[in-house]
């Protein structure tokens, strides 16, 4: 009988390792002045350097170095006073020089950590993920496999290469082995990548779009029999390209390894690929011979030796850490834990914050984004931020506060904005959604309602206040719902001698 996840974690202890590659959002590539803009026509962002033409030479992008230091500082690393580039030698068609300029034994940042919080059976628990190194390297080109099964490497007749991506700055962030996560290993892995992504975003150094490949994760895991203290053989699952997949890949791999071990089979140290559909992994094509990268110092580049003064300058520019930032907002806004978590999980915290920064009330901002906008986004299967901007939501909230819109009218405005009818102001104009605030117009509607229901009016006059509802309803109907019901009530009761 095959082991299920709970059985696996009851018998085996996982050890995690995560390697994250992040493309920086610098204007230019790591070693040349070509643009890094995503989505350009093939081979339009290449030059002798990033094509690896004979005679060309790399020169380091200063912003890439600065970004690397920022990342290191944000991850509590030491910044190396002396760091060098090395060549990693191996042949592959998408790598123009047939070596990758990377860092080997002298990386720019070492020995950091990142704490992540996990909701466990015993409450929220902090797991510390230790970081071994952060180093700089360059990305490869992209290949398109033509013929055979379309897009797949196997069975392709030939391949087409686009080197626009070649040379884009990549940071590789490598954890030390992470023991002691037990059954929470998949969540820890996901929380780590999420937190890392939020940090990188807050630093402004990367777009961190997993779906565009600007953040890529390789997840390692091994199992050892509970209490054995022996480290198992690990597998490495490549290019897991969503946060959810990180969790699923570790989960799936733990089940696979657990079952192999249970059957007395060996775990092979290998590279595996994550299968999005099934949540399982498949083995990569194994290489004939073990690679020997023949690392040596890159003679075309000189050492990077940031002085302490520069590092301190950079440290001063670092933004508040996302975890601290979250705590501060939660306090300021007085949000309960559960709702805070909902906002974070929906990835709307930044958006709500931006809306609040435009003057909106935090509770209202949260309820519009998580309520109506999210509902519409769900219907359309897009992100809420693709439907509305913080400015638009803030504008609507302000109009409600000013009494110019009712909640009900505001929902129509949102619907109009989402349907592309323009800005909130334009939708209000086009759809004529203004609250009727002209008292004389309301009074004539009230008088008409009283004339139509004299008995009801009489009951109100004699003190039956709840009976006013029918009259108010009639007024609202007569004004097409655009009247402020509270104001109608006030005017009506005054008129019938029940005002205070």
């Amino acid at each position: 009988m095959a082991l299920k996840y709970d059985d696996v974690v009851a018998k085996y202890e996982p050890t995690l390792g995560l390697e994250v590659h992040v493309e920086l959002n610098t204007n230019t590539k790591m070693f040349c002045g070509c643009s890094t803009e995503f989505g350009a026509e093939p081979n339009t962002q290449t030059c002798p350097v990033c094509l690896g033409l004979p005679g060309s030479l790399p020169v380091v992008n200063e912003v890439a170095i600065e970004s690397a230091i920022k990342i290191g500082l944000a991850l509590n690393c030491s910044i190396a006073p002396f760091s060098r580039f090395a060549r990693k030698n191996y042949f592959y068609p998408d790598m123009p020089k047939d070596y990758q300029i990377s860092q080997y034994d002298e990386p720019i940042c070492v020995n950091g950590y990142l704490d992540v919080e996990i909701d466990t059976d015993e409450g929220v628990k902090v797991f510390r993920v230790e970081i071994e190194r952060v180093h700089m390297e360059e990305d490869t080109g992209k290949s398109l496999h033509v013929g055979g099964a379309t897009g797949r490497i196997h069975g392709a007749e030939y391949s087409l290469l686009d080197y626009n991506r070649a040379g884009i700055p990549l940071m590789e962030i490598v954890t030390k082995m992470v023991p002691g996560t037990g059954k929470y290993a998949p969540q820890v892995a996901r929380a780590y990548v999420t937190e890392l992504r939020d940090i990188l975003r807050s630093l402004g150094v990367s777009d961190v779009k997993m779906e565009q490949g600007s953040l890529r994760c390789d997840a390692n895991v091994s199992l050892s029999p509970m209490g054995s203290g022996k480290l198992g053989t690990r597998s490495e699952t490549k290019n897991v390209n969503s946060l959810r997949s990180v969790e699923r890949a570790i989960h799936g791999e733990m089940i696979r390894q657990g079952n192999r071990l249970e059957n007395g089979e060996r775990i092979i140290q290998e590279t595996r690929h994550f299968l999005e559909e099934s949540g399982e992994t498949r083995p990569g094509r194994s290489k004939e011979t073990a690679e020997d990268y023949r690392y040596f110092q890159e003679p075309d580049l000189v050492p990077v030796a940031p002085d302490a003064g520069w590092i301190e300058e950079i440290r001063k520019t670092l933004p508040e850490k996302p975890s601290i930032h979250r705590k501060r907002l939660q306090e300021q806004w007085s949000v309960p834990d559960k709702e805070m978590a909902a906002m974070v999980n929906a990835e709307l915290l930044d958006t709500v914050e931006a809306t609040v920064n435009l003057g909106a009330d935090p509770t209202k901002a949260r309820s519009w984004w998580l309520g109506e906008v999210s509902r519409l986004a769900n219907e359309k299967d897009v992100a809420p931020t693709e439907l509305m901007t913080p400015a638009q939501v803030a504008e609507i909230i302000a109009l409600i506060a000013a009494g110019e819109l009712t909640d009900k009218l505001a929902r129509h405005v949102v619907e109009g904005v989402v349907n592309g009818e323009g800005t909130p102001a334009q939708v209000i104009e086009k759809r004529g959604l203004k609250v009727v605030s002209d008292d004389s117009a309301l009074m004539s509607a009230i008088e008409a309602a009283i004339a139509a229901q004299p008995d009801t009016a009489e009951r109100v006059r004699s003190g039956n206040i709840p009976a006013a509802g029918a009259l108010i309803g009639a007024v609202m109907k007569a004004t097409g719902g655009q009247a402020d019901a509270a104001r109608v009530r006030e005017l009506l009761l005054n008129h019938l001698g029940q005002g205070n």
Partner: protein, 99 residues
């Protein structure tokens, strides 16, 4: 004793992606053996207390500003390509996975 075997030369040729005939391998193995005997002496001089020098100049922190400069036109970029298609370099089928 030979410093390098024919099998080792064959392994190196694979690492260096150079196809070699049996004759080439034999010939190169014996030449490399001679050369390695001649260059082996670097080890006599390389004492533990001598730091290595990888580069003759004591330069550091040479960088460029993060400012876009014009790229090659795609025609120029592809001008040397043995084969091209759809504004891309056309190469024989790629076997094996990327790194």
């Amino acid at each position: 004793m030979a410093a390098i075997s024919r099998d080792e030369v064959a392994h190196l040729a694979r690492l260096a992606r150079i196809e070699m005939s049996s004759d080439e391998l034999d010939h190169l193995a014996s030449e490399l053996d001679q050369i390695l005997h001649a260059v082996d002496r670097v080890q006599e001089a390389a004492k533990d207390d001598v730091p290595p020098t990888s580069h003759p100049l004591p330069l550091k922190n040479v960088t460029r500003p993060d400012v876009v400069v014009p790229s090659l036109s795609p025609e120029d970029a592809l001008s040397g390509a043995p084969a091209a298609d759809e504004q891309r370099f056309k190469v024989p089928q790629i076997l094996g996975d990327a790194e």
